[in-house]
Point group: C2
Chain length 199, copies 2
DNA sequence: TATACAAGTAAGTAATCACTTGCAAAGATA
DNA sequence: TATCTTTGCAAGTGATTACTTACTTGTATA
C-alpha cells in the first residue's frame, strides 16, 4: 500500500525507467510497453515518467544511444586492435553475443521498433548501428584476407550480411526455446564463419 | 466521392483485405495497421472489415495460414525431391528468397508481430513455421553429407540456425537500402553456405 | 416478381493511449 | 530557519483503438 515512491535524482530514475522498459519488452512484448504499465512496473506514477523524459519516444531514443555507447564503440575497439584477425573475430562475436544475452530486450527493440513505428530519426539511428557493426566486422575479415590467413575468393559484404542475422537468430531462439544453450552459440557461429573463410 | 464500395463475394474481399494489410505493414509499418486505416486503403468502410473477419487478430492469423500453405509446403516439397542435394539447396534458397521478395510484408509480420503482441496462439504458429523451415533445410544438408558431397564435420543444427537469419537480413537490407540488388542475394548466400559445407 | 441472404454503410461504443495540469512535499542551499 | 529547486502524485485531457449496432441495398433463387 505504497503511498509515494522514494525520491531519487533524475539520473538514477532515468536508468531505472530504461531498465524496466527493456524488462517489459523482453518478457511481455513491445505492446505492453505503455507508459501506464511502465510506471506500474517501475513503482512510480505515470506522471513521474514524464518528469524524467519528455516523451516515450525519448526513452527509446535514450536506450538506443546507450547501445551505441556501450556495444558499438566496444565492437569498434575490438575490430581496431592490432592482434591477429582470428583472435579479433572471436572477441568480436563473443562480446557481441554476450552483450545481447545480458541486455535481452535490445534486439527486439532495435529490429521490432524500426518496423513497427515509422519514426524516421529512430530508423536512421538503427540504420547507423546496423551498418557500423557490419563495417567493423568487415574490417576484421579484410585484415585476415590481407594477412593471407583467409581465402580471398569470398564476398566480404555477403559474409557481413550473413553475420548480421546471427544476433536476431540468437534472440528468436532464446524467445522460442527457454532452455536454449547460449554458451556454445557464439563458438558454433564462429566455427561456421571460419569454415566459410578457409583457404 | 464514392458513396459505397462495389459489392464483392467474401472470398474475394478477404483476399483484398489481406493484401492491403501486407502493403501497409511493408510500406508504413505495423503501427499503421489499424482497422480504420486498413479500411480506407482497401476502399471500404471499417464495418465491412468485420463483415469478413471476426477480429483483426483473425486477419493476421489468416495471413500466417497462407504462408504455411504457400511457402512452407513448397519448401517441404523441394526438400523431399530426389534430385541432388546441391540442386535442392539452390532451389530451396532461391524459392525462399523469391517468395519473400514477392510478399514483402510477410517477414516483418512474422518476426515483429511475435515480439510485439503477446498472442500465444500466434507465437506457436510462428514457432512452427520457423522450425519447419529449419527442419527442411537440415534435411537437404544431411542428405548431402550422407551422399558424401559435403563435409560431415559441421553442425547441421548451427548451419540451419544461421540460415534462418538470411530472410530477416534480406528484409532489413531491402528496407534500409532502396536500391538493394535482391537478384544476386540468394546466390551470394548459397555460395557462402556451400563454402562452409566444403569437404 | 417476391423473398431471403449477403455485403455494404454511418455512427456509435468503451477502453486504452501518450501526455498535461495543479499541487504537495522532500532535499539542498542561503 | 527560510527559500528554492527537484521529484513526486492524482486526476485529468483529447486522440485513437478494435469492435458493435441498426439499418440499407444489391443479387441470387423460389
Amino acid at each position: 500500500m505504497a503511498v509515494t515512491a522514494q525520491r531519487k535524482p533524475s539520473k538514477t530514475r532515468r536508468i531505472e525507467i530504461k531498465k524496466t522498459a527493456l524488462d517489459i519488452i523482453y518478457s511481455e512484448g513491445l505492446k505492453k510497453l505503455s507508459t501506464h504499465h511502465l510506471a506500474a512496473k517501475a513503482g512510480i506514477s505515470e506522471g513521474t515518467i514524464f518528469r524524467h523524459f519528455n516523451s516515450k519516444k525519448e526513452i527509446i531514443g535514450s536506450i538506443v544511444k546507450d547501445v551505441k555507447a556501450m556495444l558499438v564503440t566496444r565492437l569498434h575497439d575490438i575490430a581496431m586492435q592490432d592482434t591477429a584477425p582470428d583472435k579479433r573475430l572471436e572477441d568480436f562475436i563473443c562480446y557481441h553475443m554476450q552483450y545481447l544475452k545480458e541486455n535481452k530486450g535490445i534486439t527486439i527493440l532495435l529490429f521490432t521498433e524500426a518496423s513497427y513505428q515509422n519514426n524516421k530519426e529512430l530508423k536512421e539511428e538503427l540504420d547507423e548501428i546496423f551498418h557500423l557493426q557490419q563495417k567493423y566486422f568487415s574490417k576484421i575479415i579484410l585484415d585476415g584476407i590481407l594477412d593471407g590467413i583467409w581465402s580471398s575468393d569470398i564476398s566480404t559484404e555477403s559474409l557481413a550480411s550473413l553475420y548480421m542475422g546471427i544476433p536476431i537468430i540468437l534472440n528468436i531462439e532464446i524467445n522460442l526455446n527457454p532452455v536454449f544453450k547460449h554458451d556454445n552459440f557464439c563458438y558454433q557461429m564462429l566455427t561456421l564463419i571460419l569454415k566459410a573463410l578457409k583457404k
